[in-house]
């Protein structure tokens, strides 16, 4: 299969998945027990008024036509208006998404920077105490409910020890001191050269990011270990060692180099699950990101906002899959030549 065909195939499946995503959100929007017409006209409206409004918002059309109109609107970036903020949902999401991104990026960094080396050590020390210890740390990580760990973290590091700042993204006194450029508060503070805001923002960021980071570390370390064990069994490792290469080089350059190919998909998936974990973490830490926005919308029956958020997270998921699919041949020369 040529490289062009491969890319086309990937794009085809991306489009299909996106259509599936919109169908599900469309379906959810239709099954909701609230009657949208009734919400507009009120319970005392006449049958004629009801029918007129129903036709006006297009609910009398056949379902495929309604779906087509819905899809067109979504593709134009129109997710409807939020009932709570009375702003377009897309605008709302663009406002809150950087906060989630900041949290998830730092968490992913922690997860990769610690998880990969731990996984490698665990694999090379298989069956000895470092392996047992790392596997235990990792087992606890993926067995822990993130919202509970967040609460315990707040109790311990904020309330009892006072090492970090409490819930929220920044102290009230530091709000709106730096101009929004990237939306990532720490980056904006650095760009503005405002040291105090930066330090305060970091104090707020470090606990939720570490907790999300621990969860991704657990998963990444576990997967790295199993990929590395797979690599270390291969004959090229034996050949490299027999050739007289330093064992450390064989492990960290040769074996890990090949394990990266598989790790890319894992890291992409982890980033996706971080966005999801953000719903719970943001609730615990009152972090004003997409997760908290969705949660609040949910309890105010703001369906447009909930479905908009679902679509955004789903869309990021699809993009991540696409990126890891396209990166694959870049990292693995075999996939290129085979393709």
């Amino acid at each position: 299969m040529s490289a062009v065909r491969r890319v086309l195939r990937t794009l085809f499946s991306v489009v299909l998945t996106f259509l599936g995503l919109t169908m599900v959100t469309f379906f959810i929007g239709r099954v909701i027990p609230i009657d949208p017409v009734l919400a507009i006209v009120g319970p005392k409206a006449s049958v004629e008024t009801y029918a007129r409004v129903r036709a006006e918002i297009g609910l009398d059309l056949p379902l495929p036509v309604q779906y087509w109109r819905y899809l067109t609107r979504v593709l134009h970036g129109d997710f409807g208006t939020s009932v709570i903020t009375s702003q377009p949902v897309l605008q709302d999401m663009l406002n809150v998404f950087p906060a989630t991104l900041e949290l998830a990026l730092l968490a992913l960094f922690i997860g990769v920077a610690l998880g990969v080396p731990l996984g490698v050590v665990s694999a090379t020390q298989r069956g000895r105490w470092p392996d047992h210890l790392i596997r235990l740390v990792s087992l606890f990580g993926y067995s822990m409910p993130v919202f509970w760990l967040g609460l315990v973290g707040l109790l311990l590091f904020y309330a009892k020890l006072g090492w970090v700042a409490g819930p929220g993204r920044i102290d009230v006194g530091y709000e709106d001191l730096v101009p929004t450029v990237t939306g990532l508060l720490t980056v904006d503070a650095l760009l503005d050269g405002n040291r105090d805001v930066f330090i305060n923002a970091v104090q707020h960021l470090v606990l939720p990011a570490s907790i999300l980071g621990y969860l991704s570390l657990a998963y990444i370390a576990r997967m790295t270990r199993s990929f590395m064990l797979g690599q270390l069994r291969q004959e090229y490792i034996l050949a490299a060692l027999a050739k007289g290469l330093r064992p450390a080089r064989v492990v960290w350059v040769h074996a890990l180099g090949n394990a990266w190919v598989q790790l890319i998909t894992v890291i992409a998936l982890t980033f996706g699950s971080l966005l999801e974990g953000a719903v719970l973490t943001e609730t615990v830490f009152s972090w004003p990101g997409l997760g908290l926005y969705m949660k609040n919308s949910l309890f105010n029956a703001d369906l447009n906002a909930v479905l908009g958020g679902t679509m955004l997270v789903g869309f990021v998921y699809i993009l991540l899959n696409l990126v890891s699919d396209l990166l694959y041949p870049l990292v693995d020369p075999r996939a290129r030549s085979r393709a």
Partner: protein, 301 residues
Amino acid sequence: MSGAGLRAWLLDPVPASRRQARIGRWYRAALAFGGNGLAMAGLLIVLALVLIAIAAPLIADPQAATLQSLTDRLQPASWAHPFGTDELGRDIFARTVFGARITLTIVALVGLIVVPVGLGIGLPAGYFGGAVDAVLMRLTDIFLAFPRLVLALAFAAALGPGIVNAVVAIALTTWPPYARLARAETMTRRDAEFVQAAVLQGASRASILFRQILPLCLPSVVIRLTLDMAGIIITAAGLGFLGLGAQPPAPEWGAMVASGRQVLLDQWWVATIPGIAIFITSVGFNLFGDGLRDVADARGA
């Protein structure tokens, strides 16, 4: 039969009957599993959980789980209330014990939906191949691309919160890997000689799928389910924490953590204890699942 004789019969490399072969295989698997300390610990935790759930009314007073007593609210641990009381004066010990029932119900229901759906899609996809496979696997890929908790959130928003809707939402995002697994297992077996023999004997396609191939897919599906249990429990607890799972006054662990959030700083036990229950349960399922997988891998190798 003496103990040694029984053991020799079980481990006989040349079993005399199909029954002996089958029992012997189970015995070897059990031996391998029993030799794995962590896996046994996992099994014990899971068994203990099941026992607690079944015997809940014997362990704790059923009324205490939901009985409010505002004069007794937010008490620390004591003989009367081993885990203290919550913000409505309910006994946290009794609520935690009865919470095991809710958790196990959710896990069991999700399993009951996910396994048949996964097999129902994966078996035909793997066996027939071609267009059937393409359509079914595209469908699977679409659902695989959905973020679990967020989709569950959207469903809960549409259907309203509740335990059944939480189960449906979790099941919807859990089945795709099972379909893929069943498909892969089927593909490795559809051309096997015993299948060809069945075809020659005039067996129908349905009979081949359900009587020849399905039983061989089940072990890996069950192992996968055990490994997924912890994730299902944590997702369910997360939905409960957000107020989308079991509704009050039901003693659901996630919801209990949420209610303890208000008093976290002064009465830490209200939020912490149900969280520990979730944690221990999911550690148990993870260890148990890992052990089962190791036994299966060793047999495959």
